[in-house]
Amino acid sequence: MNPRTGSFPANPSQDAVDERDDGKERLPTDLNQEPPGGGRAAVRYRRSKTRWLVLVIAIAAVVWSLDGTGVSFASLIEGWDNAREILAGLFPPQTDEELLRSVGKAVVETLQISIAALFFGTVMGLLLALLMAGNIGAPKWISLPARWVATVFRSVPELLWALVFVAAVGLGPAAGVYAISLHAAGLLAKLVSEQLEAVDVAPVEAVRLTGATRLATAVLAIVPQARNNIASLVLYQWECNIRSSAIIGFVGAGGIGQALGISMRLFRYEELATLMIALLLLVLVVDQISRFLRRRMGAATR
């Protein structure tokens, strides 16, 4: 009665090399097989040794970093008064009508930038994710470059992308949209590909055993299982885009970001507070929409 019997390798990417079209002969590498002669004791030992090694390295790294950056709670407590002063400077947030009107305009602009960037970012990001995910099994000469492209997209800071696009299309929201799109594509590609890799392996094996092609397996067995999680990541990326646009605004892309940058540089803390509240509300609303859709999808998957 119990299911998932023939346990599949826990890391699906291990099995993805299973069937290839590229002509070369490859053995289906099932993780189960890996140390073909390896006895029980040897494997145990190797595993627990690695686990300890990782742990020791991790602890050493944390200690080294805490020491190197001079982090200390004493200084934090000591400096609390100064921080409180800054935070107190935020109150009361400014609420005159003119400001509110311009904040409203900035919010609309930010929304537009974030949605447009979400559109492009999602299209590119999902494509990259499909190419990258190990269990979908695109050939290595496609999946590796896709991985690189995604890494470049997300590791170049949005600010620098913005600079490039300002040069290309001039100042204004469009430059921001392109910059955030690339960044978003890189981020989504990474997270979505990991979601794809985390689906239950039994149905994937079942579909693959019917002789389905790699693409068919992806569309029929992997994507339907990951669908809800992907949707929620896309909505999360929307939130990230809103925050990115706040950073990019500093270089003249408009929206709340630009207003925030101006207020910050002119030390108008009360205005800053109003803008931050606007940003917070925006993120909260997106978060709520995301929760609402998650709940709906939970009930209404096809």
């Binding site: 001079g70 200390s72 004493a74 200084s75 000591e78 400096g79 100064n82 002063e85 800054i86 003119e98 311009s102 600079l163 300002v166 040069a167 299309v169 001039g170 100042l171 204004g172 500093f250 270089v251 003249g252 630009q258 940058g261 101006i262 910050m264 540089r265 002119l266 030390f267 108008r268």
Partner: protein
């Protein structure tokens, strides 16, 4: 760490550790921006430990000054008056500009060489788009704004991003971005620090003559400021340290030929304009 007791002072009225904040606006070209020679110089000269923080944004340094986490700092003219509104600071010295040979340097309004505009008045009359640099830049924001107003525009004090009759104003975040914006046509004119413009041209980042200067204004140089709380003794010592600086290598690093003393009065006009134009909420 930065946690040394700020109250502790040595025999010469200087803190045990002098914390210095720098925003790089100028640095020699061949060498990456490391100000270690400056730190060593100040340390020997003042006979105290010196900690150097290089930040790339004024806001952080001003916040640190205000929170008494930094003792002396190199700021722009406008940032100085902004800092003054939050914490008791005083200017000590400014560098001699290589171009003007004086304490002042030049801020200018530029257009593309194929533009019909010949003067700032033309720019205003053209009702086009205008690019400022960083909002809190003296030469990239405050003075260009002043020049525009002098030529008939009415840059508003309340809404920073409105300058009628100009159709649109943008903040590019930096001088090079302003130059870019004007060159690639996304702005019809822009305000920029001229020595930076010239350096861009010398470095080949911009074709020489691609931008035409249609108006200039002299701006009081970037001051080194000190928290007044450190006291007269410290001010004297630090001022002396800068005035006595004569090592060619070090002066080269700081892109100057020497330092001259300044007082708060030198920045009175900056402050006045800043208040007028809404860049300083006094």
């Amino acid at each position: 760490g930065t946690t040394d007791d700020p109250g502790a002072v040595n025999s010469r009225g200087l803190p045990e550790t002098l914390r210095v904040g720098i925003i790089p606006n100028m640095a020699p070209d061949k060498q990456s921006a490391r100000y270690d020679p400056l730190r060593e110089y100040l340390s020997t000269k003042l006979d105290t430990a010196v900690e150097l923080f290089v930040a790339t944004d004024y806001a952080g340094v001003v916040a640190a000054l205000a929170a008494e986490k930094v003792d002396i700092a190199y700021l722009g003219g406008l940032t100085y008056v902004q800092a003054k509104a939050q914490v008791d600071v005083r200017p000590l010295v400014t560098e001699v500009d290589k171009e003007t040979g004086a304490k002042e340097y030049l801020s200018g309004i530029v257009v593309r060489d194929d533009s019909p505009y010949r003067s700032v008045a033309d720019v205003v009359a053209g009702k086009g788009t205008f690019a400022f640099g960083d909002v809190s830049s003296t030469s990239g924001s405050l003075y260009p704004r002043m020049m525009l107003n002098a030529a008939g525009a009415s840059c508003s004090a309340s809404a920073i991003d409105k300058c009628p009759p100009l159709s649109e104003v943008a903040f590019t975040g930096g001088h090079d971005a302003t130059a870019q914006a004007v060159v690639n046509g996304s702005a019809d004119a822009g305000g920029i620090e001229l020595r930076i413009l010239h350096r861009l041209e010398n470095d080949g980042k911009l074709p020489k003559g691609r931008l035409r200067v249609v108006g200039t204004e002299r701006v009081m140089g970037y001051p080194w400021v000190m928290r007044s709380a450190l006291g007269e003794q410290a001010a004297t010592a630090i001022t002396a340290a800068f005035l006595e600086m004569n090592q060619p290598g070090l002066l080269d690093l700081l892109q100057t030929t020497g330092y001259q003393q300044v007082t708060d009065a030198d920045y009175a006009s900056v402050e006045k304009h800043a208040v007028e134009l809404g860049l300083l909420t006094a």
